[in-house]
């Protein structure tokens, strides 16, 4: 190296020699005690959040529709305890923030969420999410309404026939 580069090298490491040990020691001295969840707890938390777990059931029906230009696969299942669930799997991450999924008795795309609409849960990323279908909805014709809570508007609606839940 030429002289100026040698000087840059040396003084760079003089600086790093002062800064990095401080960062290292301070990083160790100040690190907080995190309450880390165990794997079992994490599994439980994921189940509570509606992520589809390993529990399988008997498939009832399936469908496919589009939400904000993303194809979403829908499958309904009857679990061993009799619960009817709906699994929704977007083909890729939705480009719409805070999407909530409602069941609505209507057949037209609503401008707003009706008071009678039932909230099923939220839909995120490209992960399969599982929604429990309430018994009063099972066997009824209706539609799934996708509502962006952040944008405050309905972004899509898809028919949800009675055959999907019976």
């Amino acid at each position: 190296m030429i002289l100026s580069r040698r000087q840059v090298h040396f003084y760079s490491f003089m600086g790093l020699g002062v800064l990095l040990p401080i960062v290292f020691i301070a990083g160790l001295a100040l690190r907080p005690q995190y309450d880390l969840k165990t794997t079992d707890n994490a599994t439980e938390l994921f189940a509570q959040a509606g992520f589809a777990g390993e529990a399988e059931g008997n498939a009832i029906s399936s469908d496919r529709f589009t939400v904000a230009r993303v194809t979403v696969a829908a499958e309904t299942l009857r679990l061993s305890d009799g619960t009817v669930v709906l699994d929704l799997t977007p083909a890729k991450s939705l480009k719409v923030p805070d999407v909530l999924v409602y069941w609505d008795a209507g057949s037209q795309v609503p401008e707003a969420i009706a008071d009678e609409a039932l909230l099923l849960g939220n839909l995120t990323s490209a992960t399969t999410r599982r929604f429990a279908i309430p018994t009063e909805v099972q066997g009824q014709n209706g539609q799934l309404v996708f509502y962006s809570q952040a944008q405050g508007q309905v972004v899509a609606a898809a028919p949800f026939a009675a055959e999907m839940t019976q």
Partner: protein, 356 residues
Amino acid sequence: MSVGYKSIQWNRQKLIYDILLWACVAAYISIFMAVTKGLGSDLDIRGVQIRAYGSAAFVLLHVILSIGPLSRLSPKFHPLLFNRRHMGVTMFFLALIHVVGLDLPVLPLKTTGALTWYHDFGNLDPLVSLFVGNSHYGDFIQFPFEMLGVGALAILFFMAATSHDFWLVNLTAPIWKALHMGVYLAYGLLVGHVVLGALQSNRHPGLTVAVGVGLVWILGIHLVAGSRELKQDKASLSANTDGFVAVGSVSEIPENRAKVVTISGERVAVFKYDGKISAVSNVCQHQNGPLGEGKVIDGCITCPWHGYQYLPDCGASPPPFSERIPTFDVRLEGDRIFVRAIPHAPGTHVDPAIIA
């Protein structure tokens, strides 16, 4: 220009170097995965893969940063310099896999990246989540350490993209070297990334000790090598009234080797060969390597870093190559060597001093 060196094509040395490099990387990742899975059966394999690639990149960066100062301290490490750029590019790709994972149709190996693992559980796009997920920029311990990694990755990308000799030739070695000194900043950012990231959640003393030892090692050898260089630079010789500098005696220079002296702040290599003495700039035109630590092979001064060659009496590379370095007038008085302080233009022929 060089001994058996081809600037573009692969050669045997590069292939051996790279095969060894990639074998070591593959062995490290395999051992890391096997040991980690052996220690904890409840660990998710995808999380282990992220740590394996991240730590492989960090370890390889330590190796890369060790080669320079080690080769300054001992010529035994010069062979490691030969293809160090491939190490750097490999390190960049390991870091990239750590971030975005690996899923190529042509490769059977697939891994999950930290971007998916830590940022794909919400409504936000993972890349957006990465940048907005943690905004504690005013807090030291909660500082978004991911941003330090992003900064380092950007520097490493720039370095990998400009690592080819095409950029070296077109930017010139001093500018190219200056830009590639960004690796020091990248190292600092990555130490911060590890200390404020992995070391916050992983309290295993082994990890803490490993990071600490690595830090002390890198800072230590760079400061030792750097201070030695600085000391040598300060021992700069000044010219007599006739413009010549006494640089030592003929007997202290081994045959086909050189003595390196500092004249007016820059280094000059004084070579002894075939009963003659010639003085040239110590700075190779390729990567500014130390020519005075090389030797005369086939009548040419050969750089110890990459084998670039120059004729000792004119400082020009033998045809068809076109590199040129400055030359100096040389005079002998008995056994004593005198070198003129002001250099000639690169490639200028200077009659060597004949040893009586």
